[in-house]
Each structure stands twice: as C-alpha cells, then as structure tokens.
Amino acid sequence: MRARIAVLALLGALVLMPYLWMVAASVKPVSEIFRASLSIWPEQFAAAENYGKVLARVPVLHYLWNGVVVCGGILLFQLLFAVPAGYALAKLRFPGRGIAFGAVMLGLLVPPHVPALPLYVAASGMGLLDSYTALIAPFTISAFAIFLFRQFFSALPDDLLHAARLDGMGEWSIVWRVVLPNAWPAATAFAIFSVVSHWNDLFWPLIVVQGHEHATPALGVLYFRSEEAGDDFGAMMAAAVLMTLPLVLAFLLAQRRFVEGIATTGLKG
C-alpha cells in the first residue's frame, strides 16, 4: 500500500506541475523567469509588481463579474425552462407529450457549435452582438437539463404529488414548492455542470464579444495576453492565476459535490 501512495504522489505532482510553475512564475521578476532556472522558489519576490500590473491594466474584477452574470443568467433560465418541462414530461399526461420527449432526445444529439452560425447572424441582425443577451440566450434551453430533471422527477413518489393536489395546490406551485425542493441533488449536480462548462467556454464568447465591457474571464485572459503581456510571462501568469482562482476555490470548498455533480451529469457531455 506504500507503493500505491508513492505512485499516486508522483502522478499527482505531475498533474499539479502546471499550477506550481504558474504560481511560481507569477511571483518572479521577469529577469529571473528569463534565466530559466529550475528552482521553483523565487530568489526575489515580484508578486506586487506582476499582480499590480494585471490589476492596473485590465479590469479583472469586471471580467469575473461578467462571468458571474453570464453563468448565473444561463443557469437561471435553464432552470426556469427545464424544471417545469421535466416535471410535465415525468408526471403529467397531455397531448403532444410523445413529440415533446422526442424533441428532447433529438436535442441531446446536437453539440452547441451546430446552431452557432445562424444564432450569430440573428444576434447581429438584431443588434445584440457584444451584449449579455447574446452571451446568455443561446444556452437558456438545455435539452440535457430537461432530460436530467425528467429522469430524476420520475423517481419521485406519486403520493407526494397527490397529497399536494389534495391540499389544493396547482401544478405550477407543486413544481416549485414540492418537486424542486425534493430534487436538490439533481439541481446542484446540474448547476455545477452548467457553471463549470459556461465559465470555461471560449468558443461562443469569442464569437459574439468584441470589447472589454462584456468579456468573460476566458476572454479576459486572451485579451491580456495579446494586448498587454507580450513576453512578460510573470504578469501573464498572474492574470491566469487570478482568473482561474474563483472556480478552483469553489471546487476545493465543495469538492465532493463537484465530483459527484460532474460524474452524474457527465453521463452526457
């Protein structure tokens, strides 16, 4: 069993290598980085310079805030659309139910890159490019979310719903006040999946955003690299650290939920 820990430690160190060097370079002065020495520990600390440069040159907090707005907006609408639809597909009989479920299954097959071109043309035609709307709207409908909630809601006992109906609750209030509170595991799993994928997304923001105002963290890193950093790897790494930190911190605080969330939702990328 000693061997197991030794092998894991070695592989773990390998996986962590980029983080170690990223953080190390972010506190080293340029001259030291260019000497390419193999010591991770800096001889001179230049943290204030590097991080100061990033914070002074680009609106880091604004990028992070944009990330929060975009991911929050996407998640909110995904839940608003998918939770009632998932409930209806799981527990109610209505005309067109079969077609609706077929549409969900069809939607599962389509990667988000496929509708991107027409959505771009539409956004451009409506003057919506470079706006929160353009960043959020295309992802508000998630066939995967509907599917996931339908599966989860199907397992809820019917007695629970009968009792609520006997109490005189309508179907809409049952969805939000009975079904959703009983579905927190599915909801948190989906929330984590959704936030992780949209926080990290580059493809769509790169297409619709043009300036700093609506740039997400991923774009922020890209802008800083092309406009400010040049060969200044210290400042570049400082920017990378600042943008990576929020989600990594959230992960470290709730790692079991993250891993479970991605494992349950990973059942579909």
Binding site: L80, P118, T140, M236
Partner: protein, 285 residues
C-alpha cells in the same frame, strides 16, 4: 392541459434557439452565403466539393483524427488506471481524487497560457529540465513536428481526471460479492480479479467513456485558438478551428456551415455506434 402549458416556455425556446438555427445551418451549408451579403445563392453540393478539393481542409481533418487518436486512448487508459489506483485504498482517496480532477474545473484558457510558459522553447521549465539532463530541447508548440503532440498532451492532462471520475462511478456500482465469488472460484491475484470481474462489468462504462472522450476531443478548440491559431503552417489546424475561421474570420458562412455538418455527422455516427454496440455486446446486467 397543465402539462402542455408547462412545456410551452421550453418548447418556444427550443424552437427558436435550437431547432430552427440547427435547420438553418443545414440549409446554409448548401448556399454561398457570406456575412453582410444581401443575397444568397443555392449552390447545391459545391461547398462539400470545395472541401474535398481543399488541401487545407484535408489537413484539418487529418490533424483532428490524430489528436482524437492520441488523446482518447491515453486519457481512457490513464483515467481507468487512476480510478483503480485511487479506489484501491482508503488513504488519500479524497485528496488524490481532487488533485486529478483539478484540471477539469480550471479555466482552460488560463491553463493554456500556463502550458505555453511551461513548454516555452527557451525559458520554459520543461526544456530547462531537458537541458539539465543533456537531452535535446524540442520547440513543442512552435514546431510543426511536435505541435499536435504537445496539444494532445495538454488534452490528456485536461480530461484524464474527468474519465477517472466516470470510471470511479462505474467501479462503485460493481457488487462486492462478485469479487468474493471470483476468489472462491480460484481467482488469486489482483490481475485475475480485474480480468474476470472488473473489466467485464465495467464494459458499459468503458464504452460510454470511449464515446464521450472521442466527442470531447473532437471538439478541441480552446487550446488551438489560444496557443497556435492552427499554426505553424496549418500543423495544428483542427475541424472546429477551421469552421470558426471560415465563418467568423473570412465570413464565409455557407462554407463554415458545411464544415459544421461534417462535424455533426461524425458526432452522430459516434453516438449511433455507441447505442448499437451497447444494445448488443457489453450489457451484463
């Protein structure tokens, strides 16, 4: 009727944001539409003919296949190995799971920048280490010989923890009694247990991880867009990056849509193969 009403908002959003745009992409692929043009012409299969004739597109497809061919097996075998290793004992389980999973939740663009520094030909720590060992120092991301390999290494690093977590979920679903039964039947070492119980029962999980890994690596875009822009000399040009460039740099939306359809066709084919094999072969339950 409440049911129909409850699916209505989702239905409208689905129609406007998913179904119609997807159909529009399909139609666009048969036109010569360029962004900003006032008219568009139906050109039938011309876009696809151009694709076949275009050497750049051929290179892009080849690069994508090489990338998928490198990342998929390594990240699956690696993910399985890590899952078995982490699950084999209680000590350090949560810690190492977190370590290997970290790249999955890290901002890809930022980590790509970190890799760029790590793999920098002159000041990068990787080459500094190689130099210290007296070995040759490749140009990694800036040489057409090594660029795909470097990108694939980053791809493996990114997805190995994701695959590990999926395999861990599959491992916990295997009933403990089966291992005891296998032991009674004479399975001695760890390898016998793996060959007789773990591997066959992981069949559905493995097939699933295989499909999802291929689709995920087929989608490679971020690292290419950040690190190489398809270069040097198209050596790292991949399908989605070509689609992006044709559509949004050269504004040739019709051609870009045709590339998107090729991408979609490959994704659908992979999913179809998965369901077919899943129905026939690997089902033990």
């Amino acid at each position: 009727m409440a049911g129909a009403l409850m699916t209505l908002p989702a239905g409208i959003a689905y129609l406007l944001l998913l179904l119609l745009p997807t159909l529009a992409t399909v139609l666009l692929a048969f036109t010569d539409y360029e962004l900003g043009a006032t008219a568009l012409g139906w050109i039938g299969l011309d876009n696809f003919r151009e694709m076949l004739a275009d050497r750049g597109f051929g290179v892009s497809v080849r690069n994508t296949l090489v990338y998928v061919g490198l990342v998929t097996p390594v990240s699956i075998l690696g993910g399985l190995g890590l899952a078995l290793l982490v699950e084999a004992g209680a000590r350090g389980r949560a810690f190492f799971r977190a370590v290997f999973f970290l790249p999955v939740v890290s901002l890809t663009v930022a980590m790509a920048a970190a890799w760029q520094y790590l793999l920098h030909p002159t000041i990068g720590p990787v080459n500094a280490a190689l130099r210290a060992m007296g070995v040759g120092t490749p140009f990694w991301l800036s040489s057409s010989d090594t660029v795909l390999l470097s990108l694939a290494a980053i791809g493996v690093w990114e997805s190995i923890g994701f695959n590990m977590v999926l395999f861990m979920a599959g491992l916990t679903a295997i009933p403990r009694e089966l291992y005891a039964a296998a032991e009674v039947d004479g399975a001695r070492g760890g390898f016998d247990r793996f060959r007789l119980v773990t591997w066959p029962l992981l069949g559905p999980t493995t097939l699933f991880v295989l499909t999802i890994s291929m689709i995920r690596s087929l989608r490679v875009f971020d690292t290419v867009a950040v690190l190489t822009q398809g270069g040097p000399n198209k050596a790292s040009e991949v399908l989605l990056f070509t689609m992006y460039q044709q559509g949004f740099t050269y504004l040739r939306l019709g051609y870009s849509a045709a590339i998107t359809l090729v991408f979609l066709a490959v994704v659908l084919a992979l999913m179809w193969v998965q369901t077919r094999v899943l129905d026939k072969r690997v089902h033990y339950a």
